[in-house]
């Protein structure tokens, strides 16, 4: 009997819908892949000959140092918070995740505003202490500066993931290490770090992917990377082919990173689900030690969150009368509108695909869930250029098709929000999918099997049983996707229709026009909404863990 015969494939509707969505997601990737191996034009030869090496070198330097710095800061914070009790520990425990609410591009122009000649530090030194400083020490618009910005905004990935790993580590592991005569530092290097290798590597990989995705920081600082080159090749030279080739180069970089992760991580898993853990009880620190640990943790929180926030607040007080007007309301509305529509579509698609991959285990569904999570590792600039290429040819088809009937379309797809939302769905589907897949895993198959044994079809089961039980996963998936889209810069910048801006793109535009103060309210709004979601999210997670 042939197991793969179509007549024996169950849930045909779910299968067809999933395959359709997967195909749509795959098309832009295939386009980049195919284009990568075609003959290049003169532009491309020039880029490859003279520029590409610099782009790659810049990206590599930023990636390597950001990875090292976030690893150092993230794991050390996670360790200190896990094993010690010290002043304000419970506050810092989740506060150290908050810097994630500040998108790197906002941190970039905020820190530039703080450190430049007219910024608060230099003008205070100059006016109150008559000190002139060497500008070289205050120049943040450099590769070192970019590394600093990425580090302070992205270390929470490493911190949060590693900490939750430590939390799931059994206390007996550490007690054994202590009994064998190691002190805390010794235990950290000889036990905690090796055990949590997979979690650290996984989270640092996330950091690297974010750096590769970045357009805002490097472009604002004037650093040439592959991402910024994609934009310039398209906007400056209108050369889609070469831009696509650059996107291909970026994807190769991503693949190298992902392969590296695989190799380093080996077969290790993030969590060991088999054992019931007795959680680690933090050791109470006193005196200088306690204040030392506090100073380290609070210092990082101050630099990464409080200082940029205060600067933005100060600018906001200076400019709110000018900025907070009808146009600003429109921007906020635009942001919420596109983020909501895209998030809804993503949740819808994620529900269908994850329900199908759950109902039918096998090679096909494994492939489908792989592809679904692919988008998040592809940098925005690469997705943007592929999507634009597809829509240009789609528009051409539509125009020629309508011309046969002597019709001229009122608009083309490229000038609508469809293109932008399409790109959002490709990039952020993974986040929604992972959440809902985890939700399905949590409820298991028993309820839906029971429902079917009681005569309900898969569709009825889905609406009567699965959906109500998945409420939590759907809500959290929606929130996460929504926030990510709200902060998103490269895709939006690239694909937003004429006369349409969001909070993110307008803020970035102000900053680029040397009107950084006016970018503050939009930035604060993004940070506020993100921080709120992070807060709610981790509170809920913490409660569930207890």
């Amino acid at each position: 009997m042939n197991r793969f015969h179509w007549s024996r494939v169950h849930h045909k509707g779910w299968a067809l819908a999933s395959l359709l969505f997967i195909t749509i997601i795959l098309i832009p990737n295939l386009l980049i892949g195919v284009e990568f191996f075609t003959e290049g034009n003169d532009n491309w030869l020039h880029i490859r000959e003279y520029l590409l090496k610099d782009y790659l070198q810049n990206s590599a330097v930023i990636i390597i140092f950001t990875a090292l710095a976030t690893m150092l800061i993230g794991t050390s914070l996670a360790w200190l918070i896990t094993i010690y009790q010290f002043p304000m520990r419970n506050f810092l425990k989740w506060a150290l995740i908050l810097p994630l609410a500040i998108p790197p591009y906002i941190a970039a122009y905020t820190f530039h505003g703080i450190l430049n000649y007219t910024g608060v530090i230099q003008s205070t030194l100059r006016n109150s202490f008559e000190m002139q400083v060497n500008q070289a020490y205050f120049d943040i618009m450099s590769i070192q500066g970019a590394i600093f910005i990425f580090t302070v905004t992205l270390f929470p990935y490493v911190y949060a993931i590693t900490r939750s790993f430590f939390q799931n580590l059994s206390a007996s592991v550490l007690e054994n290490a202590r009994l064998l005569g190691g002190n805390d530092l010794d235990t950290f290097f000889r036990v905690a770090l090796p055990i949590s290798r997979a979690a650290i590597v996984g989270s640092v990989t996330l950091v690297i992917l974010e750096v590769l995705n970045d357009y805002g920081v490097t472009s604002y600082f004037g650093i040439q990377t592959v991402s910024t080159a994609i934009f310039r090749t398209w906007y400056g030279m209108m050369d889609l082919d070469s831009a696509l080739k650059l996107a291909g180069t970026l994807m190769v970089l991503v693949m190298v990173v992902l392969m590296f992760e695989r190799i380093v991580r080996g077969r290790r898993k993030f969590f060991d689900p088999s054992s019931k853990v007795r959680p680690i009880q933090p050791k109470k620190l006193t005196g200088a030690k306690a204040w030392g640990v506090f100073a380290y943790c609070f210092g990082i929180f101050t630099i990464a969150f409080i200082i940029p926030l205060l600067q933005l607040l100060r600018w906001a007080f200076m400019t709110y009368e000018k900025v907070f007007n009808a146009e600003f309301i429109t921007l906020a509305k635009n942001s919420v509108l596109v983020a909501s529509i895209a998030s809804l579509i993503i949740i819808f698609v994620a529900l269908i695909i994850s329900n199908y991959t759950r109902l039918q285990a096998g090679l096909l569904t494994k492939f489908i869930s792989r592809v679904t999570t692919l988008g998040y590792s592809i940098p925005g600039a690469a997705i943007a250029i592929a999507v634009i290429t597809i829509f240009i040819s789609l528009d051409q088809y539509i125009v020629t098709f309508l011309a046969q009937f002597n019709l001229k379309p009122e608009f083309v797809l490229r000038t609508t929000l469809i293109m932008l939302i399409f790109a959002y769905v490709i990039r952020f589907l993974a986040i929604g999918f992972n959440n809902i897949e985890a939700g399905f895993e949590k409820i298991g198959n028993r309820y839906s099997e029971t429902s079917r044994m009681l005569g309900a079809s898969t569709l009825r089961t889905f609406f009567m049983v699965d959906l109500p039980l998945l409420r939590g996963a759907i809500a959290s998936g929606f929130i996460l996707v929504f926030v990510d889209i709200l902060k998103e810069l490269p895709l939006t910048l690239f694909l937003q229709p004429f006369n349409f801006s969001t909070l993110a793109t307008q803020a970035f535009k102000y900053a680029n026009d040397e009107r950084v103060q006016e970018a503050s309210i939009a930035s604060l709004m993004i940070i506020f909404i993100s921080a709120l979601c992070i807060f709610i999210f981790h509170r809920v997670l913490d409660k569930e863990a207890n």
């Binding site: 197991r3 285990a361 044994m453 009681l454 005569g455 309900a456 049983v465 109500p468």
Partner: protein, 225 residues
């Protein structure tokens, strides 16, 4: 024969050996059958195949003269008219006891549904519990609700997967007797899977012994853990 299973084979992906091998089963209408075996013997898999939740590699099964599966046919679980009580009961946590029991009653009008619900609740001695949620019930009560829910649509066959494994030891005997009484009262053909010889002996009309995916003839062939 009410149930006729012929040459059933089943193999999980990523395994070399058949989980079930050349299974032949005949069951008469109204019989209570126990499938007894160690964990990993394939007894739960057999139950899932009969229910339609797993896809056999080969073989055929007829239920009341109708083909459930053979090399050309596969009837999906919702069309088989088989009731199942799972090991963990799987009562829908977002529905009340009444909603749970009425879930499978689809072709009835409101009045008929209500009558059937009351009938079921009194069968399991939980007449006053309709508005409770599953988490407000004890383990034994949950099991009876799961049983009522499975019986409500009047299935032609009832399957029970390890019905006593989730209960406290001192309750087991009492609940065993209750279950037997309910099954006898409804006269339904039932198959239940267990690893406990005492359970099997107490309830079943006939015991099928399964070991390493094959039906064996005598109990002494089976080394019980």
């Amino acid at each position: 024969m009410f149930i006729q299973i012929r040459d059933l084979q089943f193999q999980y992906k990523n395994t070399k050996k058949n989980t079930l091998d050349h299974i032949q089963v005949d069951i008469e209408r109204g019989e209570i059958i126990s499938i007894l075996g160690k964990s990993g013997s394939g007894k739960s898999t057999l139950l899932r195949i009969i229910a339609g939740l797993e896809n056999p590699t080969s073989g055929s099964m007829k239920l009341n003269g109708e083909v459930m599966f053979d090399p050309r046919t596969f009837i999906v679980p919702e069309k088989r008219g088989i009731g199942v009580v799972f090991q963990d009961y799987a009562l829908f946590p977002h529905m009340t006891v009444a909603q749970n029991i009425k879930y499978g009653l689809r072709k009835m009008n409101r009045k008929q549904k209500q009558e059937r619900l009351e009938e079921m609740l009194s069968l399991i001695n939980l007449a006053e519990y309709g508005q409770r949620y599953p988490y407000e019930l004890s383990g034994g009560q949950q099991q009876r609700v799961a049983l009522a829910r499975a019986l409500a649509p009047a299935p032609s066959l009832l399957l029970l997967d390890e019905p006593f494994s989730n209960l406290d030891a001192h309750l087991q005997e009492k609940i065993r007797d209750e279950l037997k009484e309910i099954l006898k009262k409804t006269g339904i053909t039932s198959i239940f899977v267990t690893h406990d010889f005492a359970d099997a002996k107490a309830i079943a009309d006939r015991i099928l012994y399964i070991d390493e995916g094959q039906l064996v003839n005598r109990a002494c062939d089976l080394v019980m853990s």
